[in-house]
């Protein structure tokens, strides 16, 4: 009897592991920044380079930090969704224009619309390193206390907005 059950059991165990493996996303690295204070930065604004923005300017507000670049193809597919999200005025959207040419970035926003309340420039990628950015686009959600609460890697989809971002933002807006 064991002779027949054993291979079956082995097969089931293997199948379960393979099925789990299919649903894993090894490209998504869990961020160690979750529930930690947002990394400090002070960077020139894309539209007004003489002004700087730092994370302390955003204290007391719920904000999204979206890493984007005009050279990034999946940012283009994400862009209309960010435009829609911006229209709901659920939270402030701050853009991190990552390793980009300012002129190309401005042209991109003029052409496709600007969902960002403000974009800051990170031409040499240092702010990106501080935030653990390894692929563009990435989106962080930061609460009123300036703590990182969520990170999304890759383009945000309409489902992500409805099922994850909007409920999370609503919760964070209700916090003190």
């Amino acid at each position: 009897m064991l002779k027949y059950i054993l291979p079956l059991l082995l097969f089931i165990v293997l199948a379960v592991f393979l099925a789990l493996g299919l649903n894993l996303h090894p490209n998504e690295i869990p961020s160690p920044l979750i529930n930690k204070p947002a990394p400090a930065f002070s960077a020139p604004k894309l539209q007004a380079p003489e002004e700087k923005l730092s994370q302390t300017d955003l204290k007391g507000k719920v904000w999204l930090f979206n890493v984007w670049a005009s050279w990034c193809a999946s940012c283009r597919s994400e862009h209309p969704i960010l435009n829609q999200l911006a229209q709901t005025k659920a939270a402030i959207i701050v853009g991190l224009n990552y390793k980009d040419e300012p002129e190309a970035a401005k042209g991109w926003l003029a052409q496709l619309g600007n969902p960002y309340d403000v974009s800051i420039m990170d031409q040499d990628g240092r702010i990106g390193i501080d935030w653990g950015v390894y692929g563009v686009p990435e989106t962080f959600v930061i609460d009123k206390q300036g703590v990182v609460r969520y990170k999304h890697t890759g383009p945000v989809t309409p489902d992500d907005v409805q099922q994850t971002f909007l409920p999370l933002i609503a919760n964070l807006q209700a916090e003190n």
Binding site: P26, I29, P30, L33, R126, G128, I129, G132, Y134
Partner: protein, 152 residues
């Protein structure tokens, strides 16, 4: 023909130098630390390469970061900590032994042990199965059958 060959070699030498970053170090220890660190940090874009091996832009940025921190006199531990604070243990090719990474460290040894135990059990069972007792009468029959075969 010879001249053509030399031209060809010169063209190749250009390729050999392309993509090499020039870094100056204060002392050989610092250079050793740099080489050691860049070959222990994972490039997060192309996850099966170290940042020393990778041509990805992020890898170049991280190499620059390692270099600058060494220039500032930071220790290897400081730099490894800097990277894990930002990218998690995943960035280290040699992750620390923790509850979360336990399976990673113990896994291969555990599977080897399971394998050895099953081989041991399997071969032992085979041996006991082979040593089936046969009666004197059966033995006699076997012998006569064999002898019969010899005559034909």
């Amino acid at each position: 023909m010879k001249r053509l060959f030399i031209v060809f070699l010169l063209i190749l030498s250009g390729i050999a130098y392309a993509g090499v970053e020039f870094r100056e170090f204060a002392n050989p220890e610092q250079q050793a630390a740099y080489e050691n660190l860049t070959s222990e940090l994972r490039c997060l874009v192309c996850q099966n390469q170290t940042i020393a091996d990778s041509n990805a832009e992020l890898a170049a940025d991280l190499r620059r970061q390692v270099y600058e921190m060494l220039q500032q006199g930071k220790s290897k531990q400081d730099i490894a900590q800097f990277m894990t604070d930002r990218y998690g243990d995943f960035v280290l090719y040699n992750p620390p032994f923790k509850l979360k990474t336990g399976l990673l460290w113990i896994g291969p040894a555990a599977f080897l042990l399971i394998g050895l135990i099953s081989v041991f059990l399997f071969t032992r069972r085979k041996k006991t199965a082979a040593s089936v007792q046969i009666s004197a009468e059966q033995q006699q029959k076997i012998r006569s059958l064999l002898e019969e075969g010899d005559h034909s």
